[in-house]
Amino acid sequence: MSRLRDALERGEFVVTGEIAPPLGTDLSAMRRSIETIGPYCHAINITDNQGASLHLSSLAASRVALDMGFEPIFQQTCRDRNRLALQSDLLAAWTLGLENVLIVTGDDPRSGDHPEAKGVFDLDSTQLLEVASAMNAGSDMIGRPLKGGTDFYLGAAMFPEAEPWDIQMIRATRKVEAGASFFQTQAIFDITKLERAVEVMRPLGVKVIAGVLVLRSGRAVDFINERLAGLMVPEEIGARIKGADNAASEAVALATEQVRAAREVADGVHIMTLGLDDAVPEILRGAGIS
């Protein structure tokens, strides 16, 4: 059984991390990252052509993590595959031993490194959650019985800080109805917005894992605000990182505060290190999570 599911269902505060597979076949750096953060995480997200840019597949990289003794969250975006390929990969994921799946829309190709690519989006993330739920119930999306089904623990993304919230809420509710058991949120900077999301989602029986971003440098702040869709670093937080003598240690201090705050509100934290993997133990220790 998925350790992530087990922990969340027992009410344990969970920690998830995030790894991007390499551009190429040399897995050594990815293995080092997994080794660094793996021992502190209940599960590690393995991204799927993150930022609409080419990486080794999440399917293969998730299996690497599993073979190393860590639990992956296989990420699947709707951008690169049609409904046949998506279902085929979900079946493959289950046979490879991948139990957790995070289903997201995916960034548009024009924001990535292959802007000439055709964005597929044959299904959207809510529809794909329904498809994966159908697989858990033993059939494909056209209702044909599977010879051997799946029992995925399904997750979805949510952006509690983005307005208008009433419309986000409708969207998130549809994702729960479609079979999401947990949410991983985009980076949280305003804890009151996380609270309002948890308040609505918890009664639906879905777990909320709060996103924490380690803003390792002033450049990272600018990059996120200019380039990353839907992640807006508030001015005072950007100024705090940019004004610090040591931006990296300020980022760790900030992330530690955020994890501590999220602990009072959410069911877990999802730490995105932006490469500062070594900071994870310090952040968790500082936040009182061993």
């Binding site: 951008r79 409904r83 997201v104 829309t105 960034d107 548009d108 024009r110 924001s111 964005g119 989006f121 044959d122 299904l123 959207d124 993330s125 809510t126 529809q127 329904e130 999306m141 993304a157 949510m158 952006f159 983005a162 307005e163 208008p164 419309i167 986000q168 409708i170 969207r171 549809r174 109805e177 479609a178 985009q186 869709a229 839907g230 807006m232």
Partner: protein
């Protein structure tokens, strides 16, 4: 209407050079390309000047009434058969449908002079926007008359996606998120929030499209 834009002139020239054409006939279109300001009489004459400057002889030109209409284009080319016979190649300033109609009507190599870009709404004179993809499986009944297939850059039926911020689209940041607009209008009309739309049936839009209303008039299938 079909929106077209001028094709890279160097490509048109190269097309003509590749078939060793010295003389050219130009065909425009009196419908969409005229309204779009890409293939009417004015643009045909501009193309004529440009071709002549580049050393090609222009044997003649015409602006077909509706260049995608097979019968009309066939008639138009017969009217200009003398000029056409003298040309080594034909450049067509119309959408791709018109280019093909002309290519079926003449014996010479026919080259596109425009790029066909979308089915456009005329927002105001000279301003066009894409609002319909002609998907063959309309969802506007469920989406408050705003097409997510076309106006959401990702074409998501259900949204907003995770990039929406302050009601704005993540891909085209100066535009309002289509899904926020849909939900807002549905709520304003007292229709509640959008229901989950099922996956689209792409078999409704298999290429090439073909409709024959004569058959249904006779009581046959569509």
């Amino acid at each position: 209407m079909i929106i077209t834009r001028p094709r890279d002139w160097a490509r048109i020239k190269q097309n003509l050079v590749d078939v060793d054409a010295k003389s050219v006939f130009i065909m425009g279109c009196g419908q969409c390309a005229t309204v779009a300001g890409t293939g009417g009489e004015k643009e045909v004459l501009q193309a004529k000047t440009k071709l002549e400057q580049d050393g090609f002889a222009v044997t003649g030109w015409a602006v077909g009434e509706v260049t995608c209409h097979s019968g009309g284009t066939s008639l138009e080319t017969r009217k200009h058969s003398g000029d056409l016979d003298a040309a080594d190649a034909v450049v067509v300033l119309s959408c791709g449908a018109g280019v093909q109609t002309v290519a079926d009507s003449v014996r010479q190599p026919v080259f596109p002079g425009l790029e066909s870009v979308f089915l456009g709404n005329v927002v105001r004179h000279g301003v066009f926007e894409e609002r319909c993809q002609m998907c063959g499986d309309c969802v506007l009944d469920k989406t408050a008359g705003i097409c997510p297939v076309t106006t959401c850059p990702k074409g998501l039926l259900n949204g907003p996606c995770g990039g929406m911020w302050d009601g704005k689209c993540e891909v085209l940041r100066d535009r309002d998120c289509t899904h926020v607009r849909i939900q807002r209008r549905l709520i304003e009309q007292g229709r509640g929030g959008a229901k989950l739309l099922p996956p689209k049936d792409y078999s409704k839009k298999l290429k090439p499209g073909s409709v024959n209303i004569r058959k249904s008039r006779k009581g046959g299938a569509e």
